[in-house]
C-alpha cells in the first residue's frame, strides 16, 4: 500500500469529521445539527490542520507538494485536468441549488414558560405574591382526604367540560382541536411540565390565558382562553389538583429548587 501523503491525510480527516457531524449525529443519532454549528466545527478543524502543517517548514513543504505537483508537474496532467473540470462543476451545482431554493417562512420564536408577574390576581382581585400563594385546597390532601378527592373530582368535571378539546382526553395535549393550533396545547403528561412549576404559576396561566402572556411568549398566537372569564377561583384550583392527580406528577412546592 502506497504511503498516503500528508495532504491526503488532512483531506481524509476533514471529510471524516464532516461526515460524522452531518450523517452520524444528524442521521444515525437523528439529532440534525444546524448548518452554523457544523460550519463552526469544520472551521476549527481546518484551523487545527493548518496550524499542524505549518509549524515546521519541512512539513509545510511536504503538505504543499502534492498541490504543486498536480498543478505544475506535466506527469500529473490527468489529475490536473480532472481538478479543472471538477471544481467549476461543483461550484456550478452548488450555486444553482443556493439560488433556486425559495425562502422559508420565518420560524416563530417564543418563550414557552415565561416568568410570571409578581402578583397573582383573579380578575381585579389580588390573591397575593405569586411566589407565596399556595393552592388553598392542597392542605386537604393531608387533612381531609374525602374533601380533597371531591376537589379533584370537581377539577375533573371542569377539565372535561372546558379543557380536553385542546389538551386531550389523556391530558397529553392531543385534543381534537390540537391539529389546528400553533403553539400546540401543553402536554401535562410531559414530565417537564407539572413538576417544574408551582401551582400559583398554573393558576396564572389558566386564569389569564394567552392574552395574559408577556410579549416574549407570543401571546398573539396562543389559543388559551382567559379562564377567569368562565371559571371560579375554586374551579381553577380544583382543575390544577386534577391535573396532578390524573398524571401523578406533583407541582413544585415553594423552597424546592427547579429540576
Amino acid at each position: 500500500m502506497p504511503k498516503l501523503s500528508l495532504f491526503t491525510k488532512c483531506v481524509i480527516l476533514f471529510a471524516a469529521v464532516w461526515l460524522f457531524l452531518e450523517f452520524f449525529i444528524g442521521g444515525v443519532w437523528s439529532v440534525p445539527l444546524p448548518a452554523s454549528v457544523i460550519g463552526m466545527y469544520l472551521g476549527l478543524i481546518l484551523v487545527a490542520i493548518l496550524v499542524h502543517v505549518s509549524v515546521e517548514d519541512d512539513r509545510f513543504r511536504e503538505f504543499l507538494r502534492p498541490i504543486k505537483e498536480t498543478l505544475a508537474d506535466d506527469k500529473r496532467r490527468t489529475r490536473c485536468t480532472v481538478l479543472f473540470v471538477l471544481v467549476p462543476l461543483v461550484m456550478l451545482v452548488f450555486t444553482f441549488s443556493k439560488v433556486s431554493t425559495k425562502a422559508e417562512a420565518p420560524a416563530s420564536v417564543r418563550i414557552a414558560h415565561p416568568a410570571p408577574p409578581d402578583e397573582l390576581t383573579y380578575g381585579d382581585k389580588v390573591i397575593g405574591p405569586i411566589q407565596e400563594v399556595e393552592n388553598p385546597f392542597r392542605h386537604l390532601e393531608k387533612d381531609d382526604k374525602d374533601a380533597f378527592r371531591a376537589h379533584a373530582e370537581n377539577g375533573r368535571r371542569v377539565y372535561y367540560q372546558n379543557c380536553f378539546y385542546c389538551h386531550g382526553d389523556d391530558l397529553d395535549g392531543e385534543g381534537h382541536f390540537a391539529h389546528g393550533l400553533n403553539p400546540l396545547p401543553a402536554n401535562f403528561q410531559d414530565p417537564g411540565i407539572i413538576p417544574n412549576f408551582q401551582e400559583s404559576f398554573f393558576f396564572w396561566r389558566i386564569s389569564k390565558g394567552g392574552p395574559g402572556l408577556p410579549p416574549s411568549a407570543t401571546p398573539w398566537d396562543s389559543a388559551m382562553p382567559v379562564w377567569e372569564d368562565y371559571l371560579t377561583e375554586e374551579e381553577i384550583w380544583d382543575v390544577i389538583i386534577f391535573l396532578s392527580e390524573y398524571t401523578g406528577y406533583k407541582p413544585r412546592t415553594f423552597g424546592e429548587a427547579a429540576h
Partner: protein, 576 residues
C-alpha cells in the same frame, strides 16, 4: 288483494329485513378475540378514562357530552356505528376493541392505543358490554369480505353509477361532499344533528377509510345514524327498479287500484324468496337448492357494494393534508399578463392548494364547539399590479340569511380573511392577536353569501370590535357555491391608498388567518370556525439569475485555478 293483506305483508317484509342479512352470507360467526369477563379493574378504568364523556353508567351522558357532536355513544342503547357485523347485529368484541384502540376520526373519541395496554383496552370492552343485556345471548354474523372486487377504474365507474341510482346523492350530494338536499335535516337516534360524511375528507371516516371498512358500512349500516344498511334498499328476486317501486308503494298511505294491482304483482314475484326467509326465521331447514338460490340473489347486492366502496375510496385522499407551514405556506406565483379569473384553467396549474385547518372558536363567548367547516384551501397569483386569490372551503349547506332555529339571530354563510395591518419585521416582532386582533389591529376581507360579488374591507381590534373601512378599495370578487364547496375569487391591487390596508410586497412573509361561518350550523358573530396565524408570500419574480450566477461562479473558480497553476509554475521555474 285488500289493504289489510298489504299491511300484513309489510310486517313480513320488516321481519324479513331483519333476517335478510342472515341469508346474505351463510352465517359466519363472530371472529377475532373475545373480551374477558367484566372486572372491577375494568370498571374503575372505564370511570377514569371514559366516564367523563360516556357517563359512569354508560348512558353517553358524561360531563363533556353536552358540547360534543357527534355525542358520545350511549352504551345502553346497544346501537353501534362501527361494526364488522350485519345490519341489526351487535358488534363483535374485536370491533369494540378496534374502535377503542384507533379512536373515531372526525369525532372527539381519541385512539387509546399507546395510552392503554392491550389488556386494559380489553377490560374496557368487557365493561362496555355490561351496559347492554343483548350482548349475552346474541350471536353475531360477520359480513363476508371474501368477494372483494379489487380497485380499478372500471369498478370505480360502476360504483359511480350505483351512487346516483341508489339515492346516496340525497344525503351525500352529487360529488360526495355531504351536501345532499336532506343533509341539513338529518338527526341521529337521539335527535341530535347528524352530518352526512364528506367523502373527500375521508380522514374523518369514523371507522377508517380502508375499502373494506367502507364496504362494511354499506352492508351493516351505521346504526343509530341515518345511514341505512344497504340491503334494505333491495328486495330479493326483484330488479332494482322493481325493488325501488315496491318500497315506494309501501311508503304511501293510500294506494289506487292500479297501484294495488302493481303491488300484488311485484309481491308475488318476490314471494318465493320471502317464503324461504320466513322459513329460516322460523327455524325450518331449507334445501341446499334454496340456499343457493338466495346466495345467487344476494350476489349482485354485494358486488354493487364493492363497486360503490371503490368509488367512495376514489373520492377521498389519503389522510388530512399537511397544514400550510414550512414549505407549504401560501405562495403567490408571479403571472405574466392578466391574472386568471375564477374559472380559468390556470388555477389547476398550481397542483397543491395550501391547506389551512380550522377549529372551533372556543375562546370568546358565544363559542363554537362543533364547527362544521374544517378547513380552507387557497391558491394565489400576482403580477406587477395585482394579486388574485382563490379560496375554497367545503360547507354542506348554502345558507342565505335566515333566522337561526335556536337563537333567532340572522345567520348566513360567510368567511373572513385576516391579515395584520402592519407586517411584523422579524420573527419576534409582535403580531395582532390571532382572533381578530387586539391592541394591534387586523385588516379583514369579509365576504358573505348574500353578497357574493363583494368583499367588505374591515379593521378589527378584537373579535367584537370590527369596523367597516370608510374607504373601500376597488376589489374584484366572485363567490360561487357548487356541490358543497364555496369558491371565492378575490383580486386586489398590490398597493392601495388606504394606510389601514395591507400592502403586498414580493418576498415578504405576511401573516394570514381565517374565520368561517356556516349559517346552518348556527355560526354567527363570535360563534365560528377559526384558524391560527399562517404565512403568505409573493414568491420572487422569476429572474434569470439562477441561469446567470452559477456559470459565472464556475468560470471564476476555473479562472482562479488557472491563476494558481500559473503562479506555481512560475515559481517552480524560478527555483530551478
Amino acid at each position: 288483494m285488500n289493504r289489510l293483506f298489504a299491511k300484513k305483508s309489510f310486517i313480513i317484509h320488516i321481519a324479513s329485513f331483519l333476517l335478510l342479512p342472515a341469508i346474505i352470507t351463510c352465517p359466519l360467526f363472530a371472529q377475532g378475540k373475545s373480551a374477558p369477563a367484566a372486572s372491577e379493574a375494568g370498571n374503575l378504568l372505564y370511570i377514569d378514562k371514559c366516564g367523563h364523556c360516556h357517563g359512569i353508567e354508560g348512558a353517553g351522558d358524561g360531563d363533556a357530552a353536552e358540547n360534543l357532536l357527534p355525542r358520545p355513544r350511549d352504551f345502553t342503547s346497544g346501537l353501534y356505528k362501527i361494526r364488522s357485523t350485519e345490519s341489526g347485529n351487535l358488534p363483535t368484541d374485536q370491533d369494540l376493541f378496534e374502535v377503542i384502540s384507533n379512536g373515531m376520526p372526525g369525532s372527539s373519541m381519541p385512539a387509546w392505543k399507546g395510552l392503554l395496554s392491550e389488556d386494559e383496552r380489553w377490560s374496557l370492552v368487557a365493561q362496555i358490554k355490561t351496559y347492554f343485556d343483548g350482548f349475552e345471548e346474541a350471536s353475531r354474523r360477520v359480513i363476508d369480505l371474501s368477494g372483494k372486487i379489487p380497485y380499478s377504474e372500471e369498478s370505480v365507474a360502476k360504483g359511480k353509477t350505483f351512487y346516483a341510482e341508489l339515492g346516496c346523492v340525497e344525503c351525500h350530494g352529487v360529488l360526495g361532499r355531504g351536501d345532499g338536499t336532506s343533509a341539513p335535516d338529518l338527526t341521529d337516534e337521539s335527535g341530535f344533528r347528524s352530518w352526512p360524511a364528506n367523502m373527500e375528507h375521508s380522514w374523518n371516516f369514523r371507522g377508517g377509510s380502508a375499502t373494506e371498512e367502507i364496504f362494511k358500512r354499506f352492508i351493516g349500516g351505521i346504526a343509530g345514524s341515518p345511514m341505512p344498511a344497504f340491503v334494505s334498499s333491495f328486495r330479493l328476486g326483484l330488479t332494482d327498479a322493481e325493488s325501488a317501486r315496491i318500497i315506494a308503494l309501501e311508503d304511501q298511505d293510500e294506494m289506487t287500484e292500479e297501484e294495488e294491482a302493481e303491488y300484488t304483482q311485484l309481491e308475488e314475484k318476490a314471494y318465493e324468496y320471502e317464503d324461504i326467509m320466513l322459513r329460516i326465521e322460523e327455524g325450518e331447514e331449507i334445501t341446499h337448492e334454496e340456499q343457493n338460490k338466495l346466495d345467487e340473489a344476494m350476489k349482485p347486492i354485494f358486488e354493487k357494494s364493492w363497486h360503490l366502496a371503490n368509488y367512495v375510496k376514489s373520492l377521498g385522499r389519503e389522510g388530512r393534508p399537511p397544514a400550510a407551514v414550512g414549505d407549504k405556506v401560501l405562495r403567490s406565483q408571479y403571472f405574466v399578463g392578466d391574472l386568471p379569473g375564477l374559472n380559468d384553467a390556470a388555477w389547476s396549474e398550481i397542483k397543491e392548494a395550501s391547506y389551512f385547518p380550522l377549529v372551533g372558536q372556543v375562546v370568546i363567548e358565544p363559542r363554537q364547539f362543533n364547527p362544521s367547516i374544517d378547513s380552507v384551501t387557497a391558491k394565489s397569483y400576482y403580477n406587477d399590479n395585482e394579486a388574485a386569490f382563490l379560496f375554497e372551503w367545503d360547507d354542506r349547506t348554502k345558507t342565505l340569511p335566515q333566522a337561526d332555529d335556536e337563537t333567532g339571530e340572522t345567520v348566513e354563510d360567510a368567511i373572513a380573511i385576516q391579515f395584520p395591518v402592519k407586517v411584523p419585521k422579524s420573527p419576534s416582532d409582535p403580531k395582532p392577536y390571532f382572533i381578530w386582533g387586539g391592541r394591534r389591529p387586523v385588516y379583514l376581507w369579509h365576504w358573505k353569501v348574500s353578497e357574493p360579488n363583494k368583499i367588505t374591507e374591515m379593521n378589527a381590534k378584537g373579535i367584537d370590535k370590527a369596523t367597516v373601512q370608510a374607504s373601500q378599495s376597488q376589489m374584484q370578487v366572485e363567490g360561487v357555491y357548487e356541490d358543497g364547496r364555496y369558491r371565492l375569487w378575490v383580486k386586489r391591487a398590490l398597493k392601495t391608498d388606504d394606510r389601514n390596508d395591507l400592502k403586498f410586497e414580493p418576498e415578504t412573509f405576511i401573516p394570514i388567518a381565517f374565520s368561517a361561518w356556516d349559517g346552518a350550523n348556527g355560526d354567527v358573530k363570535t360563534k365560528r370556525a377559526i384558524s391560527t396565524w399562517y404565512s403568505f408570500v409573493l414568491d420572487p419574480v422569476p429572474s434569470n439569475k439562477r441561469f446567470v450566477y452559477p456559470p459565472v461562479v464556475a468560470l471564476i473558480s476555473a479562472g482562479l485555478l488557472f491563476g494558481l497553476r500559473k503562479s506555481v509554475r512560475n515559481r517552480e521555474k524560478l527555483n530551478q
